[in-house]
């Protein structure tokens, strides 16, 4: 702590993180419970639209909101703060939403049915369901906190002084590596302080959902006179968090000229992004499967340590993880990695591997152990048991993890920003740098392409697979 300025940085970062995570956890968990448990019309489209923002590069909602509010409005730190809160809420709202739904889905319906015999449904939710999914709220709060204090794009657009922005500025404008590292250490300490008790708590209670196999079929709870107000609230959320910001971007981009320009300025970067994401997601699916398998079959003791490490890497601010990787790989003998796209892939893997290993593990743990044991009794060797029993039975999980890792790699901005070797930047970085002086309709077109291209890519892959298997 050198000066008043650093206290201000710390204050801003903490205040921003706490505000966003408090609001997001409250709203997201509430929405998750309503969407999962209650009888609300248009559940599926509502839920889908609310999930969209987490899959986009974080600067997309940010520039859209700046465009909607008007950039000259942001003339002081308070305006920057409010703008950042709005955008971060927009981006990270899906985290508590998804986690609460995941935890709800994992509650054995038997527990609720047993209580249902003596209590009305509303009481059952209050007394049984919510206490059971409580750890999920905690996890949501933690994740939104680390994601929003670590976010670089949003506060940097809103000119809010927080650690990641300062650290990156020092690194890129003054090439002061040591000072950049020093500026990211306070956040690492704070995250560690939250992380250790949380992971101990989660480990001890073993409350990570493991029983997604349950079909939670209970009929939606009738909300009575709250039904239409709550529905209106959800509709409003979906409008404010999805339709308005994304619609605005797409609307701004609507000219052939903008797309022609966007393609000439960013086409190569889009192709590179596709390649990096495809490559990283595939590696992660492979190793994620191995870790998940080893964990599921308890091949080594204490494998949850790997998960703890991966979760910790994910919780670090992207910018800070990048500095760590540079420090590690920018050496005489590893120049080949540091100077090539491999450093980006390494970065993606260290940041997002937690997704693939967890998703595949959840899937594997649903497969009854006796299916593997049966094959063992008949003398089937381990490789064949993996290839012919575990892999086919978990292929949907592997695919889901692959797609999610792909999208997260594709949308990543703050990790690759300090990391990419010259001339190899992905589309998110290209867009972010063009933003400073590029035409706004061209930027909007680039953003739209960034949203649409991964989807087209998935369709393409799906078609390719369908053709091969008649």
């Amino acid at each position: 702590m050198r000066s008043r300025e650093e206290w201000q940085l710390l204050g801003n970062s903490l205040f921003l993180g706490l505000t966003v995570s408090f609001l997001a956890t409250l709203m997201g968990s509430f929405t998750g419970i309503v969407l999962f448990k209650c009888d609300i019309p248009f559940k599926v489209p509502l839920a889908l639209s609310l999930f969209v923002p987490i899959f986009l590069p974080p600067y997309i909602p940010a520039i859209s909101w700046m465009d909607i509010i008007g950039a000259n409005w942001i003339d002081n730190q308070w305006a920057g703060f409010l703008g950042s809160v709005l955008c971060l809420l927009n981006i990270y709202f899906p985290v508590p939403l998804g986690i609460s739904m995941l935890f709800l889905a994992s509650v054995n319906p038997r527990y609720e049915e047993a209580a249902r015999l003596i209590y009305p449904q509303r009481e059952v939710i209050k007394r049984i369901t919510i206490p059971l999914v409580m750890p999920g709220f905690l996890l949501s709060f933690f994740l939104v906190f680390v994601l929003s204090v670590g976010n670089f794009n949003v506060p940097s657009l809103f000119r809010l002084k927080v650690y990641p922005v300062e650290s990156f500025t020092v690194f890129s404008a003054f090439y002061d590596f040591e000072r950049a590292i020093a500026l990211s250490i306070p956040l690492v300490i704070i995250i560690l302080m939250l992380f250790i008790p949380l992971s101990l708590f989660l480990l001890k209670k073993s409350c990570i959902p493991l029983s997604l196999g349950f079909k939670n079929v209970s009929k939606g709870l009738d909300l009575g006179r709250f039904k239409w107000p709550i529905f209106t609230f959800l509709l409003l959320l979906s409008f404010v968090f999805c339709i308005l910001p994304l619609g605005n971007i797409v609307f701004d981009s609507l000219s052939l000229d903008a797309y022609r320009l966007a393609f000439s300025r960013g086409g190569d970067a889009i192709m590179r992004s596709l390649f990096y994401s495809f490559f990283s997601a595939s590696i992660m699916a492979f190793f994620g499967f191995l870790i998940a398998y080893a964990k599921d079959f308890k091949i080594f003791p204490h494998l949850s340590v790997i998960d703890a490490i991966l979760l910790f890497l994910f919780s670090l601010p992207g910018n800070c993880l990048a500095l760590g990787l540079i420090d590690l790989w920018n050496r005489e003998y590893t120049g080949m990695v540091y100077g090539s796209f491999m450093i980006i892939v390494l970065g993606f893997i260290s940041r997002y591997a937690i997704f693939s290993s967890t998703i595949i593990y959840l899937w594997l743990s649903l497969i009854p152990k006796v299916l593997d044991e049966a094959a063992r009794v008949f003398g089937v060797r381990v490789i064949k048991r993996i290839l012919f029993i575990q892999v086919p039975l978990s292929k949907m999980g592997i695919l889901a993890s692959w797609m999610i890792s792909f999208i997260f790699c594709f949308r990543d901005t703050d990790l690759v920003m300090p990391l990419y070797p010259p001339g190899l930047e992905p589309v998110t970085v290209r867009t972010f740098t063009l933003m400073a002086n590029g035409r706004s309709d061209m930027i909007a077109a680039l953003c739209t392409m960034t949203m649409v291209v991964p989807l087209l890519f998935f369709v393409l892959i799906y078609q390719a697979f369908r053709v091969r298997r008649p």
Partner: protein, 216 residues
């Protein structure tokens, strides 16, 4: 004297700090049928899991056809090399494979050639009356048919030792007796040794060829 298919010598097993089996000894001569009887929770499944090698005894030894496979907390021969065959309590038919593929997969592990496998599977499915259903997945069959598939899968490898863990417990009486006599016919035909776990005394009397092993 006949060779011993299975021999337990003073086997003690501890699961999560609790003694489940204490000082159990028994043996099964080759070609005979042993029935293990006992109330729920007495350790019947545990005995079969010990034979398979999914568990190892803390004390005592287990041998299969004269070879010591587990001894004093050490697993000497891994499951897949013990040459066993088993019908599981909840069948464990692989849900992503058809009836045919379920049988084919276990024969492949034995290293049989394609043509041989095809013959064997066809013969076996004909015997249990399931040839018309060969392309169905397990969940597209009735409970009794699934039970037959599990039996066919266990028999198609021509086992020397067959383990059955309450395979008929979920079936009604008539079907149970029908499958018992089918099983007996197979045993007489191929002459394998078998261990059958049940809590149904009538089933036990029909199937046993040596005195029951009663656990309490």
């Amino acid at each position: 004297m006949k060779k011993e298919a299975i021999a337990f010598r003073a086997v003690t097993t501890i699961l999560s700090g609790e003694i489940v089996l204490k000082d159990i000894s028994f043996s099964l001569p080759e070609g005979e049928r042993l029935v293990i009887l006992g109330p729920s929770g007495c350790g019947k499944t545990t005995i079969l899991r010990l034979i398979c090698g999914f568990l190892t005894p803390v004390k005592g030894s287990i041998s299969i056809f004269g070879q010591v496979v587990s001894k004093d907390g050490k697993c000497l021969v891994p499951t897949e090399k013990r040459g066993l065959s088993m019908v599981f309590q909840d069948l464990a038919l692989w849900p992503h494979m058809s009836v045919w593929e379920n049988l084919d997969f276990v024969l492949k592990a034995k290293g049989l050639l394609q043509k041989r496998r095809k013959n064997e599977i066809k013969k076996m499915l004909e015997l249990v009356g399931l040839l018309p259903f060969k392309d169905r997945r397990p969940h597209e069959l009735s409970g009794g048919q699934q039970q037959r598939v599990a039996l066919a899968r266990a028999l198609v490898v021509r086992p020397r030792l067959l383990l059955l863990d309450e395979p008929f417990s979920s079936l009604h009486k008539a079907l149970k007796m029908e499958l018992c006599s089918e099983l007996l016919a197979f045993q007489e035909r191929y002459g394998f040794s078998m261990i059958h776990v049940t809590h149904d005394e009538e089933e036990a009397r029909v199937l046993a060829s040596v005195p029951f092993l009663s656990l309490s």
